[in-house]
């Protein structure tokens, strides 16, 4: 566990009455994360017992290699969902960044210019959506849906075909492998993704901004009355999500070495699923980034098990993810108690 003391919105259910002596029991906030961790260990155990070669360390590392871009996107999504919002545009932003990046690189632009430009574009789009959501009180669902149409539409407009990337920097980063002993390796994308996770976890747990994110998710009106910078924070989380989506797009283009306007279709669902499975409350205000990481790992592990099994078809992934989503949402309801979340 990475966090236990800094949870900013512990429910004051035990204020009334004298504190009773009690056996150790997990903090309610931690239950979903512990459940995910148990599930992960259980699934890994099943894999190791049933499939030959599953206990190879590289199997675990490959989950990170294949899921690096999803991890980055899910980090951004966590910020948004913690404030009680949602961002449907992330998949489309990935498509836009890969397409635009590949086009510019193909036109001979240096990587040193293209890379910051892509990140800036994603951040700007996110900030714009955040501004519309906060200042014009448009529902996050609709505003980011428009952003999704916009980004995917722009990508299609730039080029409807898949464009290969042959830029020297891009290829060298994509092929860079950080090797440990005995042929065990990770890609450079994994390092970037883990760095993003680390920075985001620190920001959420130990900074004023992070506390404000939790406060808005808990109750935006109270946060405003407490004098917290609600406007700035709410616009910023969508900016962060846009940045993460753009960075995810860059990692995706490292992964596939191509730009394509139909890349990452439905990725927003994977990201949301990972965040929910990781125990972040979709109503906002509760959850940990560590849970999101676990959620991404669970999704990756399902994929790996289905690959190892060989006889199971790919659509079982969707069904299993659906069942897990259901289980974790019901668990959240139980943990959250009778607190009404219906709009």
């Amino acid at each position: 566990m990475t966090t236990d003391t800094t949870a900013p919105d512990q429910t004051p259910s035990s204020i009334i009455g004298r504190p009773k002596r009690q056996r150790w029991q997990p903090d309610r906030q931690h239950v979903p994360v512990i459940a995910t961790l148990t599930l992960l260990a259980f699934m890994y155990g099943i894999g190791v017992v049933n499939y030959e070669g599953f206990d190879d360390i590289q199997v675990v590392l490959n989950i990170f290699v294949d899921g690096a871009f999803l991890l980055v996107v899910a980090v951004g999504m966590t910020f948004v969902i913690l404030t009680g919002g949602i961002d449907l545009s992330v998949g489309a932003v990935i498509a836009l960044t890969t397409t635009l990046g590949a086009t510019l690189l193909h036109a001979g632009w240096p990587a040193g210019v293209v890379l910051p430009l892509l990140l800036l574009l994603g951040t700007t789009l996110g900030l714009a959506m955040g501004a519309v959501i906060h200042y014009f009180e448009v529902e996050p669902f609709i505003a980011t849906l428009a952003g999704m149409f916009l980004a995917r539409g722009l990508a299609l407009l730039i080029n409807r075909n898949s464009i290969p990337i042959d830029n020297g920097f891009w290829v060298s980063v994509a092929q860079e492998r950080i090797r440990f002993d005995k042929g065990v390796f990770i890609s450079s994308s994994v390092v970037i993704a883990l760095l993003v996770v680390l920075v985001a976890a620190i920001v959420l747990a130990w900074t004023r901004f992070g506390r404000c994110v939790y406060a808005i998710g808990g109750n935006a009106d109270s946060a405003l009355l407490m004098g917290l910078p609600v406007a700035r924070t709410r616009v910023a989380v969508y900016g962060i999500s846009g940045f993460c989506a753009a960075l995810g797009g860059v990692l995706y283009s490292f992964y596939t070495l191509s730009g394509y306007s139909l890349h990452a279709q439905g990725l927003e669902l994977d990201a949301i699923a990972a965040v929910v499975i990781g125990g972040v409350l979709l109503a906002g205000g509760s959850g940990y980034l560590f849970g999101t990481v676990l959620g991404v790992l669970v999704l990756g592990l399902i994929q790996t098990i289905i690959t190892f099994q060989g006889t199971l078809s790919s659509w079982w992934t969707r069904i299993v993810v659906g069942v897990l989503l259901f289980a974790f949402i019901v668990l959240q309801r139980v943990v959250a108690g009778k607190r009404s979340v219906q709009r």
Binding site: E137, L145, L269, S313, W315, V321, L325, V341, R343
Partner: protein
């Protein structure tokens, strides 16, 4: 009431504008020819393409009226098409009317079950509608692929083909089905108390319950209706292409349906809805698609156009935007217009 303040004025104006635009770019846009006793023409084509969207949109309108949302409609469409095609393929005589009707009934029954599931999650367990229907949105397409075994199932069945591609009294059957469902829904909500109750639940579930309205049962009901409407739309889609494609059927239609509902002036926060607006919205979206084709704008730009339309309409609907930007131009009365 002045005419330009009617809640459907702007969508209707855009619709007429698109039609007028088409006159200049395609010669015989408004010509409807009779061929083999069937009507053919661009307008009929638009209506046929809009039929599934109208069906899904009608269900979505009722769900949104209660303050919810249903993301699973596209997956439900895929499931209903997949199951009916599978059952018809297994029939000894695929051209037998009774067998086809049975297959359709089973498929719609499954959709009804899916709707009951969605409604249960939202109304009994109390999960947020977006999240509750997200589960089926993800798992439903997997279920459809499971039913078809990951293949695209082709069916050759004359009676089944009638639903999506047939004609009755010179009019496409799919359009007739969609219009019939829309009219029934309209009568139920406007000629009985149901519409009032739905608006009440959408306005405030707690207050409605205290007023003696069965908020839980009503919420449950609308998800069932939405799923059945999506199921019928799935039948029309798969019948029209004579196959069940689990990936293509109803792909992203939930977004188009929500868009149609919003264009029609239904508030996403619930409590105010307009079925006629949704029908107009659905027709408008398909007209937009056809116009983009006939004007010669590349297909890729369709999404950009939609993005612009969504942004403009949502900002126009947002009271905050009106107040900040359009304060002098928009009197407060306009926002209080009640859907007729």
């Amino acid at each position: 009431m002045t005419f330009h303040k009617h809640h459907l004025f702007w969508p209707f104006a855009v619709f007429v504008l698109l039609l007028v635009l088409n006159i200049f770019f395609s010669n015989n846009f408004f010509s409807i020819t009779v061929h083999d006793g069937h009507l053919y023409g661009s307008l009929i084509d638009i209506a046929r393409r809009a039929a599934p969207l109208i069906l899904v949109g009608v269900g979505m309108t009722l769900v949104i009226a209660t303050g919810g949302i249903d993301l699973s409609v596209g997956s439900v469409m895929a499931v209903s098409g997949a199951l009916s095609c599978l059952l018809i393929g297994d029939l000894g005589d695929p051209d037998g009317v009774a067998g086809v009707l049975g297959a359709i009934a089973v498929a719609l029954l499954l959709c009804l079950g899916l709707g009951v599931w969605n409604g249960f999650l939202v109304s009994v367990i109390g999960i947020q509608p977006i999240v509750a229907t997200l589960i089926l949105m993800v798992a439903g397409r997997g279920l459809a692929q499971l039913i078809t075994g990951g293949q695209i199932l082709n069916v050759t069945s004359a009676p089944y083909r009638v639903i999506g591609a047939g004609y009755f009294l010179a009019l496409p059957v799919s359009v007739l089905i969609a219009v019939a469902v829309a009219i029934v829904a309209g009568l139920l909500t406007r000629r009985t108390a149901l519409g009032l109750l739905l608006q009440s639940v959408g306005g405030s579930p707690a207050a409605s319950r205290l007023a003696g309205i069965q908020a839980r049962g009503l919420t449950w009901l609308v998800y069932v209706i939405a799923a059945v409407c999506a199921g019928i739309a799935g039948l029309i889609y798969s019948s029209n292409v004579a196959s069940a494609d689990s990936n293509a059927a109803g792909n992203l239609i939930e977004l188009d349906a929500i868009l149609a509902v919003v264009i029609g002036g239904t508030a996403l926060t619930g409590g105010r809805f307009s079925l006629s607006g949704t029908v107009l919205g659905a027709v408008l979206i398909e007209t937009l698609n056809v116009t983009i084709l006939s004007v010669g704008i590349p297909v890729e730009a369709t999404l950009l156009f939609k993005a612009v339309v969504v942004v403009v309409l949502c900002l126009g609907q947002s009271p905050a935007f009106r107040e900040r930007v359009l304060r002098r131009r928009t009197p407060v009365v306009a926002t209080k217009e009640v859907a007729a």
